[in-house]
């Protein structure tokens, strides 16, 4: 390391959107053959930097040197032609096209406008094999799993002979084996001379896979370090500019009254014979690998998916809950995993988003009392510390952490008996994560029960009074706070007897 030539040099890059400075002075040096991690809280300017490198937007000032020469990409095609490939967070495939067609998307070979797919087939297959993948070239992209989709995108980058590969949160939706495979692939690619920029919220993971890291804060580069010898604590300090406090402050408030009673729950989505209960002010953690049924469980309890067997009873209601409307009216709340798709009305304001779940609190016979509505939301926004220009700002303009607070606040207005949080800190930065943890503790102090689904083991162990481990749609293990061990939970989640 250290001898490779500079592939990309970014010097004091700046960019404003409508007067808001997204980037003030970003510096980034990437060498050929290295994995360079880019870290920073949400809103630190990572996405803006990437968009500029991708040619999706243009810089205001500063300099970008590519292979030694200054460049200014005006379009995605220009950046692509130069050899920069970007894999954006939400896998960008066309679901209606096949694997082979997706790999060659935008790179199709043609003669007089007529496709020559067969000429490219071998090249596509070779690239996929070199990535250790056995995906059938003729499968529709819509049938691929997240890990496979990512490999298809990487294959596309390799096919266009990229010199620099940028991955934005590549592991956000991957299971642990898929992450391991992705990291092996990236290590091999960088060894062959490809430069890689790797963006992730998972600091431990980043330190494990990268050669160097660069940290952005408030649009400025605050430091570049070698990954070896750097600790998570150091990175967090750089990212938030202060020492991180105790991430988990868990106080148990559990009361004996049962809030939710689930018996033999079975669904078409793969859940089988799930039985458990939650007591007042209890946090029950649900841990499981990708595909173990976490989200399915959350949706079934909330009445979002039909059940085929068993019953779900919320204290105080006599019948089994079968629709989300019934669940909400009975005092349940769901913070879904897919925040953007299932949790928010992006064009609506903070006000409308936060007040959407309990209209009866501020309306009478269908007439909205706007004053009461605003007062309720304003109070809750203050409690949560939502950072927004005003309550009338569209929620799409907020950062991930603030959006999550809006979704949480929706259920906290008027109080909830039971909150189901499905991976509440996914795609949320370190600072906001801590606040969400604090909110969960505060919630339980008020008597709210919390069902916490999570893909992050430390989160589950740190916050839960009890942990259920899911494996292939069944409960594979139950752990009390006293005997929580990371190793036992992981073995359980992988299907080994606890």
């Amino acid at each position: 390391m250290g001898h490779e030539p500079a592939l990309l040099e970014v010097e004091s890059l700046a960019k404003s959107y409508d007067g808001v400075r997204a980037l003030r002075s970003a510096d980034l040096h990437v060498r050929a053959g290295e994995i360079h991690a880019l870290l920073g809280e949400n809103g630190a300017g990572k996405s803006t930097l990437i968009k500029i490198l991708a040619g999706a937007t243009t810089k205001d000032s500063g300099e970008i040197r590519w292979l030694g020469g200054p460049v200014s990409f005006q379009s995605r095609a220009e950046s692509m032609r130069a050899g920069i490939s970007v894999i954006f967070q939400h896998a960008n495939l066309v679901p209606q096209l096949t694997v082979a067609e997706n790999v060659t998307l935008g790179l199709e070979r043609s003669r007089f406008g007529f496709l020559r797919d067969s000429a490219q087939r071998h090249a596509v297959r070779d690239v996929l094999i070199s990535l250790g993948s056995s995906i059938d070239l003729d499968r529709m992209a819509s049938s691929l799993r997240s890990g496979e989709r990512q490999l298809v995108e990487i294959a596309r980058a390799l096919l266009q002979h990229a010199r620099l590969l940028i991955l934005d949160e590549p592991t956000a939706s991957l299971g642990s084996e898929e992450v391991a495979h992705l990291h092996r692939v990236l290590a091999e690619l960088s060894a062959s001379g490809l430069g890689i920029i790797y963006i992730s919220h998972r600091i431990d993971e980043v330190l494990g896979v990268s050669d160097r890291i660069t940290v952005l804060r408030d649009g400025k580069t605050v430091g570049t370090r070698n990954a070896v010898g750097t600790e998570t604590r150091d990175v967090i300090r750089l990212m938030i500019g202060r020492e991180a406090g105790h991430v988990f402050q868990k106080a148990s408030h559990v009361q004996p009254a049962v809030v939710l009673d689930v018996r033999d729950l079975t669904t078409d989505t793969g859940l089988q014979g799930i039985t458990f209960d939650i007591r007042r002010a209890e946090v029950v953690g649900v841990y499981g690998l990708l595909g173990s049924g976490r989200t399915e469980l959350a949706r079934a309890i909330f009445g979002a998916d039909p059940t085929t067997g068993g019953e779900i009873r919320l204290a105080g209601s006599t019948s089994t809950l079968s629709t989300s409307r019934a669940a909400v009216r009975a005092g349940m709340g769901l913070v879904p995993e897919e925040r953007a798709a299932h949790g928010l009305f992006p064009q609506l304001s903070v006000l409308d988003n936060m007040s959407s779940a309990r209209p009866w609190l501020y309306s009478h016979r269908g007439w909205v009392n706007a004053g009461v509505q605003r007062r309720l939301v304003d109070g809750m926004a203050r409690v949560l510390g939502v950072k927004a220009a005003s309550l009338d700002q569209a929620v799409s303009g907020l950062s991930g952490g603030n959006q999550q607070k809006v979704v949480l606040g929706r259920w906290m207005i008027g109080g909830a008996k039971l909150l189901i949080l499905d991976d509440p800190t996914v795609g949320v930065d370190v600072g906001a994560k801590e606040e969400i943890y604090r909110l969960i503790s505060e919630l339980t102090a008020d008597g709210t029960a919390v069902l916490l689904m999570s893909s992050e083991l430390p989160e589950v162990i740190g916050l839960a009074d009890r942990v259920l481990v899911l494996h292939e749609g069944r409960i594979a293990g139950r752990f009390d706070r006293g005997d929580l061990s990371e190793e036992a939970i992981l073995r359980c989640a992988h299907g080994e007897a606890a």
Binding site: R76, L97, G113, L115, R156
Partner: protein, 343 residues
């Protein structure tokens, strides 16, 4: 390694297994499932009609059906690609009138020979397509609104040009285009086959076709892959206008004049056939083959109802019901099968 691997001598058994895999992959595609379903419907309707009336299964009747649907078919083949790319073209009904009136005017009043008159009519359609492309692609106006606007503009223009009534003084030979034959086939049918085949080739074998699916299926992915979405969509709108123009000169040639009121409601016949054929209104999904089958279903159904002596008022109702059933059936079947799958 993939299944269809290397240069191992292929044993027949493996071949068959491979074939099954390929068939399963083909059926997994929603467009293809609709196609199978539609071919079934077509066959069933055909069998029922040939049993119910002996006038249905005759060469004369069937070629009559195909000739009747060829106008919708020509247009629908092209509009399919617009819809696959994520757009919509409602203006085709008026383009029919504009093309017909333009051709008739040149033939009747400017005294032009017929071939260049017809060509100008079709080109007028292409110009309308260009206007659509400009509004939708360059001005970023919602395609429903933009082409609804040009639908009105086109109708008004045709009425103004023709002075509110069919163009007078059109030479008798103006009728030859619609009534002419090539061998045993009538000219409109031949043109239908040619246009549908060209659109099929564009869909399956060209960059434009691939890019149309990508633009309609995931426009963000298409943009980030450096695909010229705008150019793709623009070309398809122009083609759609051109196809509607061709249908327009044929329709007006059939009545031997330029009728400014021709093609009223035509746009809905076109969209119905396309949607029946399995093309998604949301884009990304659909095929010209599916559309051709959709066009035939509509045609044979209408023909059958005529032969059975169902009066035309009731036919509207039957067609509406069939559309809702055909498009809604897949959803209903899915829900029912799920209910039965429960223990």
């Amino acid at each position: 390694m993939t299944d269809d691997g290397q240069a191992i001598p292929v044993v027949p058994l493996r071949d068959r297994a491979l074939f099954r895999v390929a068939v399963r992959a083909w059926v997994a595609h929603p467009t293809n499932r609709t196609l199978v379903l539609n071919l079934g419907i077509l066959l069933t309707v055909g069998v029922v009609l040939s049993l119910a009336t002996d006038r249905f299964l005759t060469v004369e009747n069937l070629s009559n059906v195909v000739r009747q649907v060829s106008f919708v078919g020509i247009t629908a083949s092209a509009v399919t690609l617009v819809m696959v790319s994520g757009g919509l073209d409602l203006s085709v009904g008026s383009i029919v009138a504009v093309a017909g009136v333009v051709a008739a005017k040149f033939a009747a009043e400017a005294g032009w020979p017929l071939v260049p008159s017809f060509l100008l009519g079709a080109i007028a359609g292409g110009l309308f397509g260009t206007l659509n492309a400009f509004l939708v692609v360059a001005m970023r106006i919602n395609p429903v609104i933009a082409t609804l606007g040009t639908l009105y503009i086109g109708r008004g223009l045709a009425l103004l040009l023709a002075g509110g009534e069919p163009v007078k003084g059109v030479p008798l030979a103006f009728n030859d285009l619609a009534t002419g034959t090539i061998g045993p086939l009538s000219l409109p049918v031949v043109i239908f086959v040619c246009v549908a085949a060209s659109m099929l080739v564009i869909e399956r074998k060209t960059l434009i076709g691939r890019w149309a699916i990508a633009s309609g299926g995931n426009s963000e992915a298409a943009r980030l892959s450096g695909i010229p979405i705008d150019r793709t969509r623009a070309i398809l709108y122009v083609l759609s206008g051109l196809a509607a123009g061709i249908a327009g000169i044929l329709i007006n040639s059939r009545v031997a004049t330029g009728d400014p009121n021709s093609g009223v409601g035509f746009e809905f016949d076109v969209i119905v056939a396309i949607v029946l054929g399995g093309t998604a209104l949301s884009g990304g999904q659909g095929s010209v083959v599916g559309t051709v089958v959709g066009v035939l279903i509509v045609g044979i159904l209408g023909n059958g109802l005529n032969l059975l002596g169902v009066q035309s008022f009731s036919q509207y109702i039957v067609k509406g019901v069939v559309l809702i059933i055909a498009v809604g059936s897949s959803e209903v079947i899915r829900r029912i099968s799920r209910r039965f799958a429960r223990p």
